[in-house]
Symmetry: C2
Subunit: 327 residues, 2 copies
Amino acid sequence: MIERILCLFSVLVIAMSAIVAQAAVDPLPSWNDNAPKKAILTFVEKVTEQDSPTFVPPPERIAVFDNDGTLWAEHPMYFQLFFALDRVKTLSPKHPEWKTQEPFASLLKGDVKQALAGGEKAILEIVMATHAGMTTTAFEKIVGDWIATAKHPKTGKLYTDMVYQPMLEILTHLRSNDFKTFIVSGGGIEFMRPWTEKVYGIPPEQVIGSSIKTKFEMRDGKPVLVRLPEINFIDDKAGKPVGINSHIGRRPVAAFGNSDGDLQMLQWTTAGPGMRFGLIVHHTDSEREWAYDRKSHIGRLDKALDEAGAKGWTVVDMKKDWKLVFP
Amino acid sequence: MIERILCLFSVLVIAMSAIVAQAAVDPLPSWNDNAPKKAILTFVEKVTEQDSPTFVPPPERIAVFDNDGTLWAEHPMYFQLFFALDRVKTLSPKHPEWKTQEPFASLLKGDVKQALAGGEKAILEIVMATHAGMTTTAFEKIVGDWIATAKHPKTGKLYTDMVYQPMLEILTHLRSNDFKTFIVSGGGIEFMRPWTEKVYGIPPEQVIGSSIKTKFEMRDGKPVLVRLPEINFIDDKAGKPVGINSHIGRRPVAAFGNSDGDLQMLQWTTAGPGMRFGLIVHHTDSEREWAYDRKSHIGRLDKALDEAGAKGWTVVDMKKDWKLVFP
């Protein structure tokens, strides 16, 4: 008899310690106990409460995250642009004509500002010269090599070390509550996919971004996909709901962004029926990161900040709400 | 002591009965014990053997399936075309001009052959007139209503009852071995998504197909996506690897098709390193389904059948290899 009780007792202890362990762990330890942290925890609680009217079945638990300025930093300019500039330097020996041809000439002299003075046209030329013309497999390796070694000019960190620890905790908390997490970024889809699984736990099939066209070809009897110098899709502003619909095919229940580029994604997500969640990361911390909003050229946050109040979206004050920024 | 032994014994019995239950169940009961069944089971065994050189980690276990002719029937014509024809009839009161305008005039007289005599141009006109001009939400409802009620002209069955039971078993077997299963179809992505989760267990975010463009708009202060009468992407032939790359971002390890429209998908999938699997459903059963291959207008299987031999892809002889066709 005593053995039987001991047997039952062991089972109970194991079961209870699991429950206790779960209750004791704060899923968002890098967040101060302010309103945003409470809003996130409450939202996840409500949509996972089995018999509640706010319950959302697991297959519909889709959460979308902007990348630049929401999951990792974006100043003094988008990290993908640093990648493109490094590529121009690497490729320049094969392009003697770049010495006199803008925007490449200025870039090679180190004058990034002058190079980008040509606006969108200049950026497009740089992107096409550096992102197209190779196979998808070759490009994946180029990105993988760069992201493993290149350092941010101000912090000296690897770019993948400039991800936001508090946002990583949200990703994990959502996934441990049966959410599927997606990236929906204006950045290049093929620029993100080589590293998002390792850094964010987001597999390539859950990454949505801007893209250039690709073409299927046989080379020496082997199939390849070649990246063409032609825009396929711009996943920004009104493009974000289009990209979401194309890749996911159902409306997310939660959206996380930081700029006016995310406004339509937040509108689309939170306009659905039932419980919804919208969050904006407001960059207010000039010491630990950068402070910018309505007048910034990169990651401008103006209309979306106004609309957040009216729509009840959560606005994160980076300086007050985050215990730490980078891991 | 005896109690302790009993306690351990109960645990053992429970564990063993689970193992026995698993071993006793045939995951592919609708397949005859021929080579294709063995090839599928062996492939799944090999890629899931933890310490084997053929092991594939779960995140890379991606399997892609064509839809028309691979997961459900496609004769006497693609089921989406029946949907389009029904839509023409439904919409005709609002389009008096269709009475004299081809291809609509012939369609409304019931002469499908004459209507489709205009080839791709005629089909495109029918598709645009019936698939565009509404919001994505409205179209989802239209498809959902149709698929729940429309019947196949020959069998009198619901179209979703004309799915292939043996293929459903493959889907389930792969998923229970940590595969993610995707549809990669020439059919319309938004035509499939409303029902694939229920019928195949494939959620909308794992459906890839042809698409028309959509546009984000605010209507009465509410965001909508409007379907435009303009082709966005054709997910067929050389388009399939492009669609796979765009949506999944990594190369599948297994591909299932039935026609030359799947040739490039099979080439792309099986050209990757490590263990790969390619399968072609050969329609050989004129009694239980249809028999067609090299000369068929719908689902022509010619080049891919030749290449299957050279590449070692599994060719399923529907008549000999399937115990039953429809559930």
